[in-house]
Symmetry: C2
Subunit: 205 residues, 2 copies
């Protein structure tokens, strides 16, 4: 039987692939390396925080699912939550985790199997932002672990990666080019991705 | 001055790039050949008719625009409208043109510059479907001409194109692979695309 797999990728500019001259991002590269015919939807929006994603999530995801399909949801945000604007972080880390939990729990209720990709670092945003994002990523990992939902960490690996950092600094300070997105795609592909894709009917688990 | 150009591509499976093993479609390929840093959003959904697109258009497009940006909208549908289901076409051609007119007029009212890409052929859908789609495409062209909105015809050129037809028949009968999407991207790029992209503040015209 051929499965009709439909995946919505929702999140921020990193999901969207901002800065990639090939307009593929990590999402397009991961899909191209995945077996099978996948119907994919990229719902990344620049500057989106977890709050923004939570607000629009089901309104945008539901018209892209089908009742009999193997529906999936990949969620990735956090790097904008930890940015300071007007003297405070855009979204408090506890609130970000609450947003993530709400999305994941609703996803399961709707029989849409979720996977979470951790927030990439914003290279030129300074050490305090880096620390906040790492801390938030650890919280997201723990939250996913408790729910047996795959979480793919990216923050530390990309902050230390010469291609990612060089391309980000040559660009707008946050977004890499094709090489950085290839690196991030590699992280996703070598962690839980293929196992998650292969798992059938996992939303009934 | 660097312009912040944001383009939403809204439509059906051909916009989405269904069947492309590289997950780039014609949209990704056109963007990769376009100068400048464009923020692009692919809002294609399989099986969508003009009716479906009209219903979700502003709800999905508006959160992706910014007040001071050069906001654009590329619309492409019609191939699903002309499909017969339960003994009748899914959307009547007059209604399809009404949907297109409503979207284009609203787009202008919102200062979002529009461009229309005509419906690609569905190779295995038979001669009657092909005739209906060609006729619909002519109606869309006339509607755009009357509004001075660029329209890029695709139906006839792709129905006659050996790469498009061969890949579609080797696939699901409707969607090509990478070569077909490259062909469609070529049509877009050699017609009004670059001129439309270069035009500044055209929405104020």
């Amino acid at each position: 039987m051929i499965r009709d797999t439909r995946i919505c990728f929702i999140g921020d500019s990193f999901v969207q692939g901002t800065g990639d001259p090939e307009y593929r991002g990590w999402v397009g590269r991961v899909l191209a390396e995945t077996r099978g015919d996948i119907t994919a939807f990229n719902l990344g929006i620049r500057r989106n925080t977890s709050e923004d994603v939570r607000l629009r999530c089901w309104q945008e995801v539901l018209p892209r699912t089908l009742p009999d399909a193997d529906n999936r949801l990949v969620v990735s945000f956090g790097s904008n939550d930890t940015v300071v604007e007007d003297g405070r972080v855009r979204v408090d880390p506890a609130r970000c985790l609450d947003n993530l939990a709400a999305i994941l729990d609703e996803s399961r209720r709707r029989a849409i199997a979720p996977l979470v990709v951790g927030p990439p670092p914003v290279i030129d945003a300074g050490d305090a932002h880096a620390r906040r994002t790492l801390h938030l990523a650890d919280g997201m990992a723990a939250l996913c672990r408790a729910r047996h939902i795959p979480f793919i960490a990216t923050t530390r690996a990309l902050a230390d990666h010469p291609v990612w950092t060089r391309e980000a600094m040559a660009g707008d300070g946050a977004h890499p080019g094709a090489g950085g997105y290839r690196t991030l795609a590699g992280l996703v592909l070598t962690r839980q991705w293929h196992e998650w894709i292969a798992r059938a009917d996992q939303h009934r688990s």
